[in-house]
């Protein structure tokens, strides 16, 4: 074993070196800190949030906490409508949700899973305040005026022994008080509790709890909330609706991901979606195949150009390079719209083909609003991303290699294929990765020239983000897309080696 080396001041050399390097490291860190913070705040955090949204499902248990708790006891496979307890809980939850207006959001959320729930919630929201539960309110207030006194309620609800005896009332009153402050800007001590609090009080009383001021509840005719909800819409009596609520009640769900791969949670676990709803797998496959074709087209078109650029005199090469870069300086929308003009059936290209006589006038080519259109327009847009890395790699291959190969007896083709091409592979790799990753996430161009057959998965993601507002599904689709790209990157690294990717130099 060797002794640790000692520096001149007697400390171990390693420690001295570390101390000397620490200052440098701190300085380096300080230099990158602004960018690091910017990226964390504006990039990493939103992405993490987006990824989280693909499994997050708090809206059900937050909006309908009591209902979710009450549904625990209900067997979703029984095929029966839940009992009165669940409807009591739903009544309290809905009454509160209506004030927060969160019932419509919950309706939209559950509508992704079972269509019709959105309108059911909206309709019920309008009617839930008009239930006949005011009979409980009247009965309690008639029996003792203290039940109508807001101050008295505040006092009762501050008393822990009373709270312990009246669990449902306490829970309903607490949320009501919170809602009064937050949604109505009022003070609970000045407001008479609403009907659903009395309804909860009645339910507590019926289950044998001791009331603060004893009231004989046996004389009150119970109101069946199950019937009341059933009167609004008989969907409430449909076990399927309840199964949906129960299935999506956990805080986290794999539902969005199942949806992303054309599956769903059925009565007996995971099952395939009906055939007419299966779109995402097809879209994913189409996105991959089209991105690969665009990548291939870019290699075929870009390689000769890059070769020419790398082998011309600098002056000419710079001029041509400007032509390559020109599309970069034109707006993406302008370029894509130009393709619309060129490719449409009465467009420039078809006109020329008809004029030359290659294509019959009544049989013009469909070049746009399909996959052909997307591939043509996107190849054009992404071509510079292939040419630039290829060019910068080819620029570093000295012409003497080709000469050497020829002097050794290789024909032009052999010299190219055995000597030049292998050295340009890093450029092809870099270009392919760039083009493929850009293509797989592109959406403006497919949106404009892709019609229905030529759109990508990203168009669907954009749709869910901005139109259907199903962000969870959009996040799940995005996560899957990200995973596919990372897996492909990993495969590429295994096969070609990421060290072999060069953007230049």
């Amino acid at each position: 074993m060797s002794e640790p080396v000692i520096a001149a001041d007697g400390r171990p050399l390693k420690a001295s070196l570390n101390r000397a390097l620490r200052r440098q490291k701190m300085r380096a860190l300080a230099l990158i800190a602004p960018l690091l913070i910017f990226i964390l705040v504006s990039f990493v955090m939103p992405i993490a949030d987006m990824l989280f949204r693909s499994v997050e499902n708090e809206i059900v248990s937050e909006t309908l906490p009591r209902t979710v708790a009450a549904l625990d006891a209900w067997d979703a496979g029984s095929g029966e409508t839940p009992d009165e307890d669940v409807f009591n809980a739903l009544y309290t939850d809905m009454a509160l949700a209506v004030e927060y207006k969160s019932h419509t959001r919950l309706g939209s959320r559950l509508n992704y899973e079972t269509t019709g729930i959105a309108s059911l919630f909206r309709k019920s929201g309008r009617r839930v305040g008009k239930f006949d539960t005011d009979v409980y309110t009247k009965a309690f207030q008639d029996a003792d005026p203290r039940y109508a006194d807001p101050q008295q309620w505040v006092a009762w609800m501050a008393d822990d022994s009373i709270r312990a005896k009246l669990p449902m009332t306490t829970s309903a009153y607490d949320d009501w008080a919170k809602m009064i402050v937050e949604a109505e800007n009022d003070v609970p001590s000045e407001e008479e509790p609403w009907d659903f609090v009395y309804s909860a009080l009645y339910n507590d009383a019926v289950s044998g709890a001791e009331l603060p001021v004893s009231v004989d509840v046996s004389g009150i005719t119970p109101v069946s909330l199950r019937t009341a909800f059933g009167d609004i819409d008989d969907k409430w009596l449909n076990p399927n609706v309840w199964r949906t609520i129960k299935t999506y009640s956990p805080r986290y769900t794999d539902g969005y991901f199942l949806n992303s791969v054309d599956l769903m949670k059925g009565a007996e676990g995971v099952e395939a979606r009906p055939e007419n709803e299966q779109i995402y797998i097809t879209l994913f496959i189409r996105t991959m195949i089209m991105s690969l074709s665009i990548m291939g087209m870019c290699v075929l078109l870009g390689y000769p150009i890059a070769w020419l650029l790398a082998n011309l005199k600098d002056r000419t090469a710079n001029l041509l390079m400007i032509l390559v870069l020109l599309p970069f300086w034109t707006s993406l929308l302008v370029r894509t719209s130009a393709w619309k003009v060129l490719l449409q059936q009465q467009g420039v290209i078809n006109d020329i083909l008809v004029w030359i006589g290659i294509v019959a006038d009544d049989n013009r080519l469909e070049l746009i609003n399909n996959q052909t259109g997307t591939i043509i327009a996107m190849t054009h847009i992404l071509l510079p991303f292939m040419i630039l890395p290829l060019y910068s790699v080819m620029k570093t291959i000295p012409p003497s290699y080709l000469r050497a190969a020829k002097s050794l007896g290789a024909t032009n083709w052999t010299a190219f294929w055995r000597v030049y091409f292998p050295q340009s592979v890093p450029g092809i790799g870099a270009g392919c990765i760039l083009v493929f990753i850009l293509a797989i996430g592109y959406y403006i161009t497919p949106e404009l020239v892709g019609g229905t057959k030529g759109v990508f998965i990203s168009n669907r993601i954009a749709y869910h983000i901005s139109s259907s507002l199903n962000w969870g599904l959009a996040a799940a689709l995005g996560t899957i897309l990200l995973t596919i790209v990372m897996v492909l990157y990993w495969v590429y690294d295994k096969i070609v080696g990421i060290d072999n990717v060069k953007l230049g130099g």
């Binding site: 000295p398 003497s400 290699y401 000469r403 050497a404 190969a405 020829k406 002097s407 050794l408 007896g409 290789a410 024909t411 032009n412 052999t414 010299a415 055995r418 000597v419 292998p422 050295q423």
Partner: protein, 364 residues
């Protein structure tokens, strides 16, 4: 030797122009017998590399004929010429191992695997690189890469090998070792070699003959000793080795000696090389080591010049003394560091002279 008959490599009135306005190579005539080691020496832009490229087939001659073994190769593409070539930056294929690099010319010639392996190993052993077959070029030092490049140019047994400043990137010591190895190898294998360099020492030590290029022409084509001792014009005299130049006018020509009156008025003896008439202006060239200042060693009737010592530099094996002679401050003499050698002191006045045959009257 302008005749191309019987020559292995011949340039016959070759001209080359890149832009159609100026000639890079002007009327080049050259012929080489088989087995010769010929060096093209010259400053950059003198046309030597262009000549090499034309011979290799990477440039086409604008005019004239290049023949290889009696056959015109003007229209033969490079890969069919069967000429081995070593490039300035070695041009070893970086994505292939050393063995694959060497095997490449054999593969494209469709030589069988076992024969290929045998030839590769033999070529590697020839340059003492047998242990490096599996390495990549990037894992080798400059000198090792150079050896591999040489082996690759020789592995397919070409009769003609071209080398384009192959040692330019190496340090002095390595360069000297490799110079020796390359010449030995070329002579052992009996290969005809055309070697391009701008390093005159390299040219003198390695070659059978040296072609000095300037301004697109061969200024002199001669064996090294002739080139050094009997330069045919003032460019060659200046370019090869160190040289003292004195300017003057020819006063008298008598057979193979002449009298030159220098611009300072002094009279000296010289050999007329390319001065023809009395009254011609001339540049007289004398090598520094042929200048004598010991009066006893000079002929009695030799003309001498008065000189003042300006600087004495001790260089180890030799002394280099700068003198003021006949109006120039740049006159240099070199003396061997021998025990009895006098060490001149700055300010000292001496008398210098030389044997008439060492002083050559060249074009002005």
């Amino acid at each position: 030797m302008t005749s191309t008959d019987g020559a292995f490599v011949a340039f016959d009135r070759v001209q080359k122009s890149y832009d159609g306005e100026t000639l890079v190579v002007k009327d080049l005539n050259l012929s080489m017998p088989k087995g010769e080691f010929l060096t093209m020496l010259g400053p950059s832009g003198s046309g030597k590399t262009t000549c090499l490229m034309m011979l290799a087939g990477f440039e086409t001659a604008t005019h004239g004929d290049i023949t290889l073994d009696g056959v015109s190769i003007n229209n033969i593409p490079p890969h069919k010429r069967g000429i081995g070539m070593v490039f300035q930056n070695y041009a070893l294929f970086p994505h292939m191992s050393v063995a694959e690099n060497l095997s490449f010319p054999l593969e494209v010639r469709k030589i069988g695997k076992s024969a290929r392996e045998e030839k590769v190993m033999r070529a590697l052993d020839m340059v003492q690189m047998g242990d490096f077959a599996g390495r990549r070029p990037a894992q080798l030092s400059g000198g090792q890469q150079q050896r591999i490049a040489l082996a690759r140019a020789l592995v397919f047994e070409p009769e003609l090998v071209l080398m384009d400043e192959p040692l330019g990137a190496l340090d002095k010591q390595l360069r000297e070792t490799l110079q020796f190895e390359i010449t030995n190898l070329a002579h052992e294998l009996g290969i005809t070699t055309v070697y391009v360099t701008h390093d005159q020492t390299e040219a003198l030590t390695m070659s059978d003959r040296v072609a000095v290029f300037d301004d697109g022409r061969i200024q002199q084509l001669a064996p090294p000793d002739e080139l050094y001792e009997q330069p045919e014009n003032s460019f060659v005299a200046q370019f090869i080795g160190e040289n003292n130049t004195l300017e003057g006018v020819v006063q008298e020509i008598k057979g193979n000696t002449c009298i030159v009156k220098l611009d300072s008025g002094d009279i000296i003896d010289a050999v007329p090389v390319n001065v023809n008439n009395v009254g011609d202006r001339t540049k007289v060239s004398i090598r520094p080591e042929r200048v004598e200042f010991n009066r006893e060693r000079l002929h009695d009737d030799a003309h001498t010049l008065k000189a003042e010592v300006l600087e004495f530099i001790y260089m180890g094996d030799i002394f280099r003394t700068r003198l003021r002679v006949a109006g120039t401050d740049e006159f240099v003499i070199k003396t061997r560091n021998a025990p009895d050698q006098e060490r001149l002191k700055p300010g000292q006045m001496i008398e210098i002279g030389w044997l008439p045959q060492d002083c050559r009257a060249l074009d002005a």
